[in-house]
């Protein structure tokens, strides 16, 4: 090769390389607006505008962030144990995770529903679903703690949950997995799915005062996979809309076999009609077994009760209760707009977003404009119920939220973007990228009749190169957009705990004003409460040793305990005597096969400990409570069973007996 040729070749190579590199997408920094920092900056000591209650996905917990700062305030343990808070480890909280399968210390928390009155947030409770072992949880927004967990019988994969009606009359639970019902033969070949597998939805009533949940009734349905749901509101109040896929009823390789039908369904459930049927005695009582766990803020303890019965409605016996609306293709999100007129179905694999009209649906039902039936349930004609389709919205539409100005925002999983469109004429107005693979969206008040608007938060499944790498497992993330103008503007991006699915945001003052500061000790009904240091004691009951212990800055009473024998089980009932805000005490003991206790002021929590070896074990306060926190410690002595050590306990008096003996 001649030198001139070589020169030409290398020039060409440089030119090619330059072209290739300039083809790379623009840097991300160009996609945020110039005043982004100002919009999300919440100065130290200042409060955020919204609370964001975010599902923790496979962490099993619920997280609470501030918007617009993206600061994490709290991880609320719901379905998973949390050693940090002693949740699922203390004797008081263990019953919260009881199920018909025994103690289940983990779940997959997918969606949040905040309680509503007249279709508007009321700031009382946050509901969440457990997807794996079907459960529904209620978090009290006064204490930011899980108040109740209800297991759902006749169910598997409680995904289509916990969407709520406009006066919190009902929370829904729908099966993602059809299974053989427990009152039939359940030991059947899997490939008899079409004959033997059934799906259900459950409507769980919520007591107006206490919030207590109760399975009002269930509806037995053909074995499709229910995915997501929304209650109607305003004019459509009284209905639930539930998306479903796998109308093919495949039991294997669903990614192919459930994608065969051109259309699946949005199921419309007339729950007011269902109520009438239940009242008329059309329901059949089914024998079941499910756990109902409640946490009482007066006894500071959870109890788990096994419930034995549910009422099941069969659409066969209940005409005009359920209709299917055809929806292209494998629909995921199913969202009703603030007026309650429009129902947006998001066919993951569809090229359009169909928007259904409630008025047209009622009309079609009235005129019996059916195209047939599916397992005996009428299927309405697609064209008869359709308001219209959003054309070319993007790829992989999943979920839709709304603002107060008639706009909808749909997440596009495959094309990693959020698309803004107008509900009335279905015109696409704007689109912004997400980083990457967006799942759910949240507009403050987005699912209610009164969206608070202003922000949109996108919850992403993949973060790749967005943050400093942390090995093979990377965080998921949330991205905040300013939607106050015509164009959406990305203003913040922050990592989340677990994988965030659905989330709701609520104006801060609706919640903050009710926040509990501490529990009044004189109101404690805990059976092992110690109402003051003078009451502190150690009692033996056979091989159980009950330590009635108090914690106050900066000592434990008693802090010297002797006379406990190997083979005993020691129950430390620790009462935090403080009556002031933000003074929890922790409690831990060396070698315990358990976690710590974290005891709020005025509360009593119990750690059970079975010592395995003779010796002296230190105990201490784990939460830096005061200037003398490090001194807040003591000892418990474990003696051999044959050694006659009397049971004794004290604080401050167990001094060396004869000082002069030392000399």
């Amino acid at each position: 090769m001649r030198q001139s040729e070589l020169k030409t070749l290398s020039l060409l190579a440089i030119a090619f390389a330059t072209t290739v590199f300039s083809c790379k997408p623009k840097n991300v920094s160009t996609t945020t607006s110039g005043d982004a920092a100002e919009k999300v900056y919440v100065a130290p000591g200042k409060y955020d505008e919204f609370y964001n209650f975010v599902s923790g996905g496979f962490s099993g917990q619920m997280t609470v962030y501030g918007i617009p700062s993206g600061r994490l305030f709290k991880v609320i343990p719901v379905f998973s144990v949390d050693p940090e808070k002693g949740y699922g480890y203390s004797e008081e909280t263990k019953p919260m995770l009881n199920t018909s399968h025994g103690f289940v210390p983990w779940d997959d928390l997918h969606h949040i529903a905040l309680s509503e009155t007249d279709g508007i947030h009321d700031g009382r409770w946050a509901f969440a679903n457990g997807n794996n072992t079907p459960r529904l949880a209620r978090v009290d927004m006064k204490t930011f703690r899980t108040a109740e967990i209800l297991e759902i019988p006749n169910s598997a994969g409680n995904h289509s949950s916990p969407f709520i009606t406009e006066n919190s009359e009902y929370v829904i639970a729908g099966t993602r997995f059809a299974v053989p019902m427990p009152d039939t033969d359940t030991d059947v070949p899997i490939n008899t799915y079409k004959d033997n597998f059934k799906a259900t939805i459950s409507l769980i009533s919520v007591d107006k005062e206490s919030g207590k949940m109760n399975i009002a009734f269930q509806i037995l349905l053909p074995g499709v996979d229910f995915d997501l749901a929304r209650a109607g509101k305003g004019k459509s109040h009284g209905w639930f809309f539930v998306s479903c896929y796998n109308t093919e009823r495949a039991n294997t390789l669903l990614e192919v076999n459930s994608a065969k039908n051109d259309k699946d369904f949005i199921m419309a459930v007339n729950w007011k009609k269902a109520e009438e049927y239940v009242k008329a005695g059309k329901g059949i009582k089914k024998s079941v077994n499910y756990a109902h766990n409640t946490y009482d803020e007066h006894t500071h303890s959870a109890t788990s009760v096994m419930e034995k019965e549910v009422i099941m409605l069969d659409p066969k016996d209940c005409p005009d209760m359920i209709y299917f609306m055809p929806c292209p293709k494998n629909p995921h999100g199913c969202d009703t707009d603030p007026t309650g007129e429009y129902i947006v179905g998001s066919g993951k694999l569809a090229a359009v977003i169909p928007v259904f009209s409630f008025t047209k649906m009622l009309d079609a039902i009235d005129k019996k404009t059916f195209e047939g039936n599916y397992a005996g349930i009428p299927v309405l004609k697609y064209d008869a119920v359709l308001h219209g389709e959003v054309k070319k919205p993007g790829l992989g539409p999943l979920h839709t939220e709304f603002d107060a100005n008639g706009n909808a925002y749909t997440s596009m999983f495959v094309s990693s973007e959020v698309v803004k469109w107008r509900v009335s004429d279905l015109q696409v107005l704007d689109r912004v990228p997400t980083y990457y693979s967006v799942g759910h969206l949240s507009v403050p008040g987005g699912p209610t009749k009164k969206p608070w608007g202003k922000y949109l938060i996108a919850y992403n499944k993949i973060t790749k190169d967005r943050y400093l790498p942390t090995g093979p497992e990377l965080c998921q993330s949330a991205q905040l957009y300013d939607i106050s103008g015509d164009k959406m503007k990305m203003i913040l991006d922050f990592p989340t705990i677990g994988e965030p699915h659905y989330a709701e945001a609520i104006p801060a003052d609706m919640v903050s004003k009710n926040s509990v500061k501490f529990f009044k000790i004189e109101e404690s009904k805990h059976p092992y409460v110690t109402m003051g240091e003078k009451e502190a004691k150690v009692e033996r009951k056979g091989n159980e040793v009950h330590v009635y212990m108090t914690a106050i800055r900066s000592h434990l009473t008693p802090d010297n305990i002797e006379g406990v024998k190997l083979g005993d089980i020691v129950y430390f009932h620790v009462t935090n005597l403080e009556q002031d805000w933000d003074v929890p005490h922790g409690f831990a003991i060396k070698g315990a096969n358990n976690a710590e206790l974290l005891v709020m002021p005025g509360e009593t929590q119990t750690l059970a400990w079975k010592p395995e070896k003779v010796g002296v074990y230190p105990i201490y306060c784990t939460d830096f409570c005061s200037a003398l926190h490090q001194e807040m410690q003591g000892y418990i002595r474990i003696s051999a069973p044959n050694k006659n050590v009397p049971l004794q306990f004290s604080t401050g008096t167990n001094q060396p007996k004869f000082e002069e003996d030392k000399f």
Binding site: I552, R553, A627, L628, E631
Partner: protein, 192 residues
């Protein structure tokens, strides 16, 4: 000797009756602020009781070995209500009799009572601030914790403020008005 004018007697009667209101509100307050107590801790002193964050203040005071503050420590709380009642009756008697002498003695007694009350408050705060347990976890050489009689004082990490509460203002205001009445009457009498 000339009696007080009708208007003066009405004003004195009203002032005396106004003091009744001070039974239903605190007389004095001590406010404490620290970095970790931005919202402040407050102790309110009434004629017959203490209210506010007394338990929390006691919890903090144990670090420096201060005695526990509780209402039953102070005999004043058992008799102050009667002293004040007598004082109200005293004022009403002036209004009824219209006696100038009685009015003058009332002001003298008020002044003495005020001085006595301040002295009493001083000696209690001195006692609490200085007589500290030798076993106190925190002992700062030369440091005492007597709150100010009135005004501000820095006590370790706390800013302590001592000042009258609503009831205190009512009592002081009433006495001042009665004093003004006496002064006007005195000048009128001198001219006459």
């Amino acid at each position: 000797m000339q009696k007080l004018s009708g208007l003066s007697r009405v004003i004195i009667a009203l002032c005396s009756l106004a003091i009744i209101a001070s039974y239903f509100v605190p007389i004095w307050r001590i406010d404490l602020f620290a970095p970790q107590y931005p919202e402040g801790l407050m102790m309110n002193i009434w004629f017959h009781k203490l209210t506010g964050d007394v338990d929390i203040i006691n919890g903090l005071n144990h670090y420096i070995g201060m005695k526990k503050i509780s209402a039953d420590m102070f005999p004043e709380f058992t008799y102050l209500i009667y002293v004040v009642a007598a004082f109200i009756i005293y004022g009403l008697l002036i209004a009824i009799t219209g006696s100038r002498k009685l009015l003058f003695s009332y002001l003298v007694v008020s002044a003495l009572g005020g001085v006595l009350a301040i002295y009493d408050f001083y000696q209690w705060t001195y006692d609490y601030g200085h007589h500290l347990s030798p076993d106190a976890p925190i002992q700062v050489p030369g440091m005492s914790y007597q709150p100010p009689i009135i005004g501000h004082k820095q006590l370790l990490n706390f800013d302590a403020f001592s000042m009258p509460d609503v009831g205190g203002y009512i009592v002081a205001g009433s006495v001042v008005i009665v004093g003004i009445v006496w002064f006007i009457e005195w000048r009128k009498h001198k001219k006459a």
